[in-house]
Subunit: 226 residues, 2 copies
């Protein structure tokens, strides 16, 4: 999952970037409205955390611009406490959730998880695919109850696949959602990781669709659960 963090305060930025990174997201950062608007339209984020008080262009306008351009990415806005007018402006502009400063990082993460879940059209908080289960809260995964030891990137890869299970995901799409901005395009890292994940979750769960990408499926003999 790849997140855009729009925040001008350097301290808060550092703190959130750290927290989001720890939680297993790839994070890009925009310090002002201009850059935010640009990045948001250019890169395929899975969610955006947007501070409303920003230099250059204010947050609500940026958001409004995105929505006008038909950008459906879930957006969580951060507002100063009591700045009601701001908050209203944010919702009018098309925010999906909000959080007033100051807040606990934990709460931000929880709301973000909820947002991502909703945007993928899932109702349940835990993501499953056959006997494979992934718990975003703890950033852990298990097969048939047996916990897996996944590294950070392996987890992120699996997370993205499970959120889009059944669909074919191209290697390019994976790269774009697992890494932040700059990444060497011609590299077979993804293949290597697909291999490692396969070894850990068991053969047959990740199909290769030659020339197109990969697809996560439930094994046939496993009862499928929502």
């Amino acid at each position: 999952m790849r997140i855009l963090l729009v925040e001008d305060d350097p301290d808060l930025t550092r703190q959130l970037k750290q927290a989001l990174g720890d939680a297993g997201y790839a994070v890009d950062h925009a310090p002002d409205g201009e850059e935010a608007a640009f990045l948001g339209e250019t890169e395929p984020y899975d969610a955006i955390v947007l501070d409303l008080g920003l230099p250059k262009i204010d947050g609500a306008s940026v958001l409004e611009g995105w929505r006008r351009a038909n950008l459906a990415t879930p957006v969580l806005i951060l507002t100063a406490r009591g700045a009601w007018s701001e908050k209203v402006a944010g919702f009018d502009a098309g925010a999906d959730d909000y959080l007033t400063k100051p807040f606990h990082t934990e709460e931000l993460l929880a709301r973000l998880r909820a947002l991502l879940r909703r945007s993928a059209g899932h109702a349940t908080p835990s993501l499953t695919c056959g006997a494979l289960r992934l718990d975003p809260r703890a950033a852990r995964a298990s097969v048939a109850g047996e916990p897996l030891r996944l590294t950070s990137l392996e987890y992120r890869l699996l997370h993205y696949l499970i959120m889009h299970q059944g669909r074919v995901i191209s290697r390019t799409e994976l790269v774009e959602h697992l890494y932040d901005q700059d990444f060497d395009r011609d590299s077979n890292t993804i293949e290597v990781f697909i291999g490692r994940v396969r070894k850990k979750i068991g053969q047959g769960r990740v199909e290769t669709v030659r020339g197109l990408g990969y697809r996560l499926i439930a094994l046939e003999d496993e009862a499928s659960e929502a």
Copy 2:
């Protein structure tokens, strides 16, 4: 499906070519208006992606030329943000859809699919012919609900046939739409693939019209669905 991509920026070109290729289209590229005009009139594309800001001849003029020449190919134009006059010019010149830069590759692909669907006169996103069904989004096909294992070229062949079902398609036409520019004309590859596809989707669905080409039809005993 064969696409003409007209774009002068090398980076964007590379990116789009990749994405379009991944999505299963055959892609030709024209870096300037002159070549675009030529290719567009020479080769039978299924859709054209046209950047308006171009060297030599500007995009709108090229498009106008095509339309004057009665070229009906659906055209999707790319404009710089806020270049309203350009956009208007583009529509006046006969564009079918537009997208402002910057944009998400995903959105371009979605709009392209919509355009191709519309141009074939279909309303539904999934293409069917009797019990045969083809889902362009997932690049999958099925017969009577049973998924088929098709290779990339087999899929493209079937895609073209199903989009023009009932009509006789010549071998030349198939070659022109399945491959990009240079392809050895005297080769029986198409016949081989017709054979393979027949074997996979069941006999009788692809008729041979001797001396003319092939035609995809629904089997008689199958209820035809919209």
